[in-house]
């Protein structure tokens, strides 16, 4: 059955204005907190650690008043990626060494051998991945693109002295994120127009060649439309005297509140705790 609502499955990059405490945090703090959490989730290598991180993400989503079902839908659409990671891990896992170290084989499925050691690694990896996806979604659920760009620019501005174009980088980020849902919508429209003329997107054919061939008629108009959009955007910006970052001031001045420091502090403590679980 053809399902044309592509936007339904793209949860990253969607802002959901619920007006929660998390939404009101300073975008710079959100970015730092996000980076700290991301590093901690990557670095923790105990099952307790990743489990805690996952639960913390769910709790943060609740705190931000994001419906959990909606957030988890983003995970669901990444299932193919999860599967690929799992298969690759099992294939490349050094089973001989693990077995020698006392890990028991649990089951075998073709070349895929699942042992206690590889199962542990798998759970660790997948939970970590899921936490990371939730973290990034949470950031975009609670932060408008403008805020995000604003925050990035601020954080990068010390690097301006060594020649990093902070403002331009922030702008590129904003535009890329802004265009994502637009492109999805455009793609949806093109798919529908072609389905209306008998193209068969609904049938799930596993014939790779055929499926790839069907993508071409979609990509060509999509590219043309994006190029034209980009050109229009440039003209619109130049018409309003946009000259890049030099000497540009901001309408909204960022100022950290008490809640921001509380968030920052508690996240740093939590991250330290996650790392500590490695040594238990």
């Amino acid at each position: 059955m053809p399902e044309f609502e592509l936007l339904r499955n793209i949860t990253i990059g969607q802002y959901l204005p619920t007006g929660s405490v998390v939404h009101q945090l300073d975008p710079r703090v959100k970015l730092i907190v996000g980076a700290v959490l991301m590093a901690a989730v990557m670095a923790t290598s105990s099952l307790t650690g990743v489990a805690l991180a996952f639960i913390a993400m769910l709790a943060a989503l609740c705190l931000a008043r994001i419906p959990l079902r909606h957030a988890l839908r983003g995970l669901r659409s990444a299932w193919a990626f999860f599967l690929m990671v799992a298969v690759l891990q099992l294939l490349l896992f050094p089973h001989h060494r693990a077995v020698a170290q006392g890990s028991a084989a649990l089951c075998q499925w073709g070349p895929l051998l699942v042992s206690t050691a590889s199962l542990r690694l798998l759970i660790l990896l997948l939970t970590r991945l899921a936490s990371l996806i939730l973290l990034v979604s949470l950031l975009t659920f609670c932060t408008t693109i403008t805020e995000l760009a604003h925050g990035t620019e601020h954080l990068l501005s010390p690097l301006q002295r060594v020649g990093l174009p902070a403002h331009e980088l922030a702008l590129v980020l904003t535009l890329a994120l802004r265009f994502l849902p637009l492109l999805a919508r455009e793609m949806e429209r093109i798919m529908k127009a072609q389905a209306a003329r008998g193209a068969d997107f609904g049938a799930h054919s596993w014939n790779f060649l055929q499926r790839t061939r069907r993508m071409f008629p979609l990509l060509i108009p999509l590219f043309l439309i994006s190029l034209r959009r980009a050109e229009e955007l440039i003209e619109a910006m130049e018409a309003r005297c946009y000259m890049g970052g030099r000497g540009r001031t901001h309408l909204i001045q960022l100022r950290a509140q008490r809640a921001d420091f509380v968030a920052l502090g508690s996240v740093v403590i939590f991250a330290a705790f996650l790392l500590a679980t490695n040594f238990w």
Binding site: R8, Q14, L16, H70, R189, A193, Q194, A195, R197, P221
Partner: protein, 286 residues
């Protein structure tokens, strides 16, 4: 009993249902389209016109309510949707953005090829469809689509739908963004298509002039509900009601009203410039 060509009953639709971004588009629409009829759908932006059109050929699945095409329910899993999409040709808004083939002829042939027709039949259909929209098939079929003018691209896109040889054309703002001459031509082709093929046309538009000229009947759609229905003459005689709904009337109608308000005895139900001119002429002769 003769079944209507298309019948829609109590149709509801919600976009992104079950997500925090869900938006209700249709809230119980009933509508009937008979063979050979040109039916207008009038409504402000966001009233659900496009959503309704996309239900007529099964691109959007009904969530609640029912859509029948020639007595066949689109909700029925046994209904062959590809067959329905061939019978109800849908042309989207700004269709010229969606051409994707290098050559004009190939783009028109996309539909017939998907139908699995043989080469001669495809060639015939492409020729007929291009000629139906005034593009000389010999001169145009090997032109690069990117080199065509805006109006030509629009007509080419229409030809792409006509090549399916549908019984019903569902058109979403077909004249939006065209210059007056391009608009006139397009309307002429549509009228001619209707007379020659006896097909029905559903026309979503907020250009009142188009509807006044073309439609036999029109529905006014506001916020996902049908609020008014009738011939253009009936509808446009309720100018205050339309204004209240945020819709206008054709310029000719508005001018005649203005004249009446200033005490001149002219008809209040003129739709086209021709009628208005005739009315004003009569005034001078009297």
């Amino acid at each position: 009993m003769i079944v209507p060509l298309i019948q829609v009953k109590d149709l509801h639709h919600t976009y992104l249902r079950g997500t925090p971004m869900e938006t209700v588009s249709l809230r119980g629409v009933d509508l009937v389209i008979e063979r050979g009829e040109i039916v207008g759908l009038i409504g402000p932006t966001g009233s659900g016109k496009s959503t309704l059109l996309q239900h007529l050929n099964g691109l959007l699945r009904r969530q609640q309510g029912e859509v029948w095409v020639e007595g066949q329910s689109l909700g029925d899993p046994r209904t062959d949707l590809r067959r329905v999409r061939q019978r109800v040709g849908l042309l989207f808004q700004n269709p010229e953005d969606q051409l994707f083939e290098r050559y004009a002829g190939d783009d028109v042939a996309f539909g017939p090829r998907n139908l699995g027709l043989d080469r001669n039949e495809v060639r015939d259909r492409v020729r007929r469809a291009m000629e139906a929209v005034g593009l000389d098939s010999i001169a145009f079929k090997d032109r690069l689509t990117v080199t065509l003018s805006h109006g030509e691209r629009r007509r080419l896109a229409l030809a792409g739908v006509l090549a399916l040889e549908p019984d019903v054309l569902a058109l979403d703002e077909p004249t939006a963004g065209l210059d007056p001459q391009g608009r006139e031509e397009l309307l002429d082709y549509l009228m001619r298509w209707r007379t020659e093929r006896g097909g029905a046309i559903v026309l979503a538009s907020h250009t009142m002039e188009d509807l006044a000229r073309l439609a036999d009947r029109a529905y006014v759609l506001v916020a996902g509900r049908i609020v008014l229905e009738g011939t253009p003459r009936q509808l446009f005689s309720q100018g205050e009601e339309l204004a209240r709904l945020g819709l206008g009337v054709p310029v000719a109608t508005a001018v005649m009203w203005e004249l009446r308000e200033r005490g001149l005895p002219v008809r209040a139900d003129c739709l086209t410039l021709e009628e208005a001119t005739a009315g004003i002429r009569a005034l001078f002769h009297a």
